[in-house]
Structures are given as structure tokens and as C-alpha cells.
Symmetry: D2
Subunit: 258 residues, 4 copies
């Protein structure tokens, strides 16, 4: 006995007798173009220009992997170690370690950029001044500035590559300007806090017209390339249950139920 | 424009104007009874007797936790380390490490028990003989017998507790008989392979009338008690991104794109 | 070449040559007691009294399930529909639908209770007045009060059961007092907003000494009982890929790449 | 008190003072190239040629999305509906619906191809004959042939695009030959079972040198492009908890606890 149900509405993809359509384009036409075009299309609703695609390529590659010890890769391998029945389960476990603290600071930085750029327009102040205000507010509220700072105090080589590409292709705009101003303002007001990959990714994605959630979502698209390779290696190279995490118990000593 | 949709059918739970019903019982009546009764009810379709409940309690407690270094606990903590926005994401990451290799061998053992018990009835042979055949088949096909064997070659204290309880409450049946025979047959034909917690859990759940998937599902119900506590401790006691897994790269040396 | 690694510290569980220990108690002793005792112990660090256990039982049963159409159950069934290789993957998918909006409002309500109770002590005002202030702040900031309000404007029968049990066992304290005052204050200042199960769960868990994250974590422990049964039913009763969600595309019409 | 731990070994990625390295290549050099090159590199250990990249592009685009009602997309949206605190949780829920039944048949098909190609070499028979044997075995064991068959009995337009591209770029090899022979043999022995996207993906990935697990893993890389867009749309366009799945209860009628 069928029940009337409101169908889910979507503007992203659909298939019918005539084929499969992504944002209105025939998927077979898109298959002749780079995958990155489709990533851009699905999120932005239009195909990228040449420079835009190269920037998105650089972002996706830049976050794809940097070592098996990162929480996302390690969680994926642990899942693969105990559960060899589902590759997707291991990849999913890896994704679950991605949040504001790991791989996801780009989202907060994109929100900060958007707020700063709007403030600059609304109040008729320079981007530089909007960035200084943002730094001041972070100091007052004792919050961290997402996109700034490294664990190891060096510059991240990926940042320069992204910004050089952005300038070369005419993609650099308010986003790059704002985070650069933020870095300078923070150096003057707090301490040297170099832009990290999350901040650079945020600036580029803002200038490509993405919304803040893309700061996490595009990271995820890139990182899945690494996670899938890590999980494939774990399956091919390591035995199940090979992982032993050393633990030290410091709780209640042995006691009996009275 | 609503579209007719076939509703999902279920015999487990529903709610309507008169209340919330689990397997036909008013949830407010069930709330006056132990949670374990509801676990039993949801899976078996009827309420347990006193002895049945105590056995299920023992199984659930027995698998709830044994240390933060197990893949399920470690994966949950890694997720909590990188992603502090979602407690359920960390618990889910922990569950994803549960498979045939970790926490899930009970499912395979329950299938083995069922097969052996059916063979015994069909061929009119003793449970002992059906177990001996199962061992022989495992030897021939060079497969492991799920539910037997420890990493450390000692007996697991939880096994005796479960079997003593099962006998005391008259719950022990074909399941306990079959895995005990399996252990003896394996000792004679292969080597000493003591029953582990997965094998004992499988025997008890079989004798309580559960189907093989319960070998994983009931483990999950019990283990979630531990995972939730582990994740609560990680949030309360540790900073994000505190986990560093040591990694050694042994792949291609530095090379340049020609 | 082993690398020195700081072991993870934990006060929850450990195992050694002498056995498996949960919060200092031998797991084999705990196996002779209700599972709910272990849930309480793992989270609170001590065993519950009789009344405390009955309250926790009532909470766990109360949130275990109320129908296969809830996001958590539906997500679990969808995962089981496409991926029959991993029971834990389906349960994990179900958990991932649990957040502030579904099953998790108890966490926010527990934080509100704690804040209100502290404010009452600090400022020497009655719980009633602290609750009135909380309502006023919600009105001013246009935020919802977690734990109040139903989609369908009726009372939830589980709330009365929980509060009656809490009073009967002397467990009802500041938590029950605060949310009851909150309900009255909201009715006077906003509109009739009956306490829902999240609010009742929050009050009880506060009075049992749990921290706010338990508002989500204990919900998860209870709901996993339902999710495991739903997934077992999906596997046993339905074919893979039987689920068809009706979708309506309202995006770009067909277009060609220029 | 640090404990010596065996580091995890990996040949995929590492970072040190000199930079970040993927399979031995400096990540900043890879950032100047298409993302698809890095996907290929991480999985295959070398960079692709021009034709190989175009084939992988076509595969990734071809599986990226085809509608919000697929289990993976629907599970992701359900998670986003109940849990708005974690974008990665919603994407992970979507991935968990990917298995042998949805999106993952490519893995089984790649195993079938590998087996058939090896059999052909070992026994000195034609690929055609090896395919005929595979069909015969499936008929005898009453199993489905992964990669063949559509729900709707039409051809999938993506298959022809992939095979045309493969031939045009000289990528088509044993994989394409085997699945084409499989399709013909099945038509003669069973019934018309057109190659589906999983079968085409499997053939192409085999001919690109990937191992069977890539049949699922590369699907996942492509599908994450769609899932991230679907989740972004759900967050931006829909309210939490908007999803209602119609359910029909057909279990025990109301009963009381005796």
C-alpha cells in the first residue's frame, strides 16, 4: 500500500531515459574532461576556466596525503586492521577523524574571510583593517585564528605554490588578500603565525567562489585519494590485527565489589 | 507533488497516537525493567526469562571493554583527536574496526555451530562427531576455526564464567556442547586451541536462540558501553591532535618528474 | 627499529596476566551483575545503587527505538541495503545520523542545566529564577531551548515514567527541578513547550552525576539496541538495493558544453 | 614513560624537514599537475601517461553521481539531516552504503577478470574460452556475474564512452577483451546481460594495472565528489530533520507483559 511521499529535491544530478545528467550536463560529455572539472561543477554549478581548474587541482593534490600517522590515515588503517570485510568502512573511519582540528580548519578560515570581506565592504574599510579587527577580536576572545600557525614553526611549502599559482592565473582576490593581511596583523599583534595549508586552501576556495563548508568538503575529496591508497596498502601488505597501541592504565587499583 | 512510495515494513518498533511500541509492548512498561530485557526483546521478539537475561548480561559485560589499545577503542580515540564536533562520529569510527578479525569472530562461530548441529541431526551423529568433522574440514581447507585460539596461550577467564552461568541457569545446550567438543577435537587433531571469548559468546547466543549475525551485533551492543566511556575520557582528558603514530617510510627515494 | 612512544593513558579498562579490569573491578565479577551496572561504572567510575540502576535502565530503554523511519534507523538500513559485507558499517551509518538535531539534544540540555544550577548557587537565587533567566536569554538570542518542544504537540509518555521513577527512588534533584521550572517558565514567556525525552533524559543523567556529553553518549548506548535489531531485520527480511528514494530534479535544464 | 613501538611502515607518503613526498615525488611538483595524476600515482606507484590519465578521469567522472536517491547519497543526506555538527560524518555515512551491492561490484569483476586472464595464460586457451568457462561456473554455482546486468534492461551510455576512449588511447587490453567476451558468452548461455558501469570500470582499471580492491576504492574517490556536493546542498537548502521515511509496522499486535 504505497504512501504519498514528498520527493527529495536536488539541483545536482539526475538520471532518466535519456541518460545521466550532472548539473544539466550529459555525464558522457563530462567524462571526456578532467575529473577536477566535475568536482568544480558539482560544487559550483558551472565548469571552471583553465586557471580555476589548475588551482583546484593544486588544492586537491596538496591535501591528498602527507603520512600514514595523521589521524585520518591512522584511523583508516586501524579499521582495516580489525575489519577486512569492507573497504568503504575503513575509508569512512578515516574521514571521521576529519574535523575542525584535523583537516577542517579551512572551513572556519573561510567563514572568517567572508566575515572580514563583508565587513570591509559594509564599513568601507581596507581589507588590511578588517584583518586587523579580526586579529583583535581573536585576542579579546582568546580564540585561535583558523588557518594560521604550525606545530613546527616553519613555513609550509604548499602555501607559496598555491599563492603563486593563484596570482599567475588571476585567481587571487579578496581571499588571498585577507589571509595575507591576517598573517601580517597577527605577527604584529600576537607573534609570528605563518599561514598553514588550511589557511591557503581557504583563501583559494574563497576566491574560486566556494562557500565555507567547502573548506572541509574539498579537503575530504583530496584526502580520499590518500586514504584509499593507505587502505589498499594495509590490506596488501599487513596482516589483520597487527596494530598494537601501547596503553598505560592509571585509574583505580584492583578493588572488590562490596 | 508527492510520489507514492512503498513504506518500509518492520516488526520491531513503531509509534502512534497511543504511544511507542517495541515488539508490541508499550515502551513505558519496558522502562520499568532492565535494559537487557529490551536488548533481548528487540532481537528475539520475546522477553527473556531470568536465567536468559543473566546470560545476556554476562555476555554484554564480558565484551564491553578490555583496554584502550584495541582497534575499536583506538580508532574511536583517533577520530575524537581530529574531530571534536561529533561524539557519534568517534563512536562510529570505533565500530568500523569491528569485523571478523576484531570482535566479530562470534558470527562465524555461530554459523559453524548451526551447521554442526544441523549436520548432527540430519546425519544422526553425535555432536562430538559433528565437531570432529568441522575440525577435519578446517584442516583440509586450511582455514582457522572461529572462536578458538588466543594470541597469548592461556585460558580466558570469561569463558568459564559464561559456561558456569549457562549450566547453572539451564541455558547450556547444543551451542555449549558443540564448541566444547570443537575445542577437544582441535586439541587432538591440531594443537591446544583454547576457546576464546568469541567462541563462548557464540555458544551462549546460539543457546539463547539468536541467529549468527548476533555474534557481531551483540558484541557491538556491549562494546558501545566501553567506546562511549573511552571517547568521553578522550574529550575530557586529552587535547585534540595529541596522538602521534610513529611511521617509517620505506618506499621510493626522492625522484623528480622527468 | 622500534621508536619510543608515549603510551596512551586511561583510567577505564586494562588487561594483564591477572585478568581484565574495568575501573579496577575484575570483569568476571561484573559479569554476574546487570549490564547497566557496567554502563554506569564505565562512565561514572563507581557502581550504581539500586535506584540509580533502575533510572539508567529506564533511560536506555526509553531511547532504544521508536520506529524504522527515524534518521538513525533509516541511515543504518540504507547502508545495509548497499553494503552487506559489514554489519558494523550499517550500525555506524546509523550512529552518524545522531547529532544535536536527532537524539543529541540531551547534551545541550545538560549543559543548560549545569549552567542554571551553578548560576543559582553562585548568585544565591532559586532554581526557578535561574530557569526563568535561561528562558529570557533564549528569547533574547532567538535560540531554541534544548529539551523542550515536540513536533506533535502532545506530552511524551516517557517523561512522566522517568520523573516518577526518579522521585520514587530519591534520584530526582536539581536536574529534574530545573527542567520542570524551565518548562513552566517557557509556557509563561513563550508558549506551551512540553518537556521531550531529550530534556527528561538530560535531567535524569544530571541527577545521576553524568557530564553533558553523556546526553549524547547514553542515548547512543540505548539506541544501538534498536539499530542492531533493525539491521538484523533488514539483512534477514529484505533484499539488497530494495530501497528507492523518490527524487525530483529542479536544477539546470539540459545544456551542452560550449 | 615512553614504550618502544614498532613504527608503521609505508611506501605511500611521508613528510620531513625537506618537504612532503608522495611516492618519492615532491608534493609541490605534483601540485602543478592534474589531481588525477596523484590519484593514479598514489595507487599505482608511478605517474600515468596522457591516455592513462584520460581513462582514469573518465572512470572517476562516470561514477561521481547519478542522483540523490542512490543508497550512498541518501544515507549521507539522512546523516546530515540528524547531525549538523560534522560534514565528514555525513560523507562517511554515505560511503558506508557502498559495498558489493552498490558501487562495489567492480571489485568482484576485477577478481573475475584476473582469474580468467590467468586461466587463459596457464591453460593456453583464448580469452573467449576463459570467459565462457567463467559463465559456465556461474551457471553451475547459481551466482551472479559481477559487472553484468542492469535493473532497467538498456545499455549504459557510460560503457561505450569508456571502451571507445580505451581503444583510442591504446589502453584497452585483456580486461576489455575479457568482459566483452563475458557479455557475449552470457548472452548465449543465460540471457542478454549488458555490461554495466561496474563491469566497464573493472575492465579499464584492470588494463590500467590496478588490483581488484581498486574496483571499490576508485569508485569511492569518484563518488566522494558527488557525496560532498549532495551534503553541501542538504546543509544549504534543507532544514534538519526534514526527512520522513514512511514505515509500516506488521509485527506483534499490542500485548501486555504478563
Amino acid at each position: 500500500m504505497p504512501i504519498p511521499m514528498e520527493p527529495w529535491r536536488t539541483a545536482i544530478a539526475h538520471s532518466d531515459q535519456t541518460g545521466i545528467w550532472l548539473r544539466g550536463y550529459d555525464i558522457t560529455a563530462l567524462m571526456a574532461r578532467p575529473f577536477t572539472d566535475t568536482v568544480f561543477l558539482l560544487h559550483r554549478g558551472r565548469l571552471p576556466g583553465e586557471g580555476e581548474r589548475q588551482l583546484l587541482d593544486a588544492v586537491l593534490v596538496g591535501v591528498s596525503d602527507h603520512g600514514a600517522g595523521a589521524p585520518s590515515c591512522a584511523a583508516a588503517r586501524l579499521a582495516a586492521s580489525g575489519n577486512r570485510q569492507s573497504l568503504s568502512a575503513a575509508i569512512a573511519a578515516g574521514l571521521l577523524a576529519i574535523g575542525d582540528e584535523h583537516g577542517g580548519a579551512g572551513e572556519g578560515c573561510m567563514a572568517l574571510i567572508r566575515e572580514g570581506v563583508e565587513e570591509s565592504r559594509r564599513d568601507g574599510i581596507a581589507i588590511e583593517d578588517a584583518a586587523a579587527r579580526a586579529v583583535e577580536r581573536a585576542v579579546q576572545s582568546r580564540t585561535r585564528l583558523p588557518g594560521l600557525g604550525h606545530r613546527v614553526h616553519t613555513t609550509d611549502p604548499r602555501v607559496k605554490v598555491l599563492f603563486d599559482l593563484a596570482r599567475q592565473h588571476g585567481v587571487a582576490g579578496d581571499g588571498v588578500a585577507f589571509v595575507s593581511a591576517l598573517e601580517r596583523a597577527a605577527a604584529g599583534r600576537i607573534k609570528t603565525l605563518p599561514l598553514n595549508i588550511d589557511g591557503a586552501l581557504a583563501a583559494i576556495l574563497h576566491d574560486l567562489g566556494f562557500d565555507p563548508p567547502a573548506g572541509k568538503l574539498i579537503f575530504i575529496v583530496g584526502r580520499v585519494a590518500g586514504l584509499t591508497a593507505e587502505v589498499a596498502e594495509e590490506y596488501a601488505r599487513e596482516k589483520p590485527m597487527r596494530i598494537r597501541i601501547p596503553v598505560q592504565y592509571d585509574g583505580e587499583p584492583p578493588r572488590t565489589i562490596e
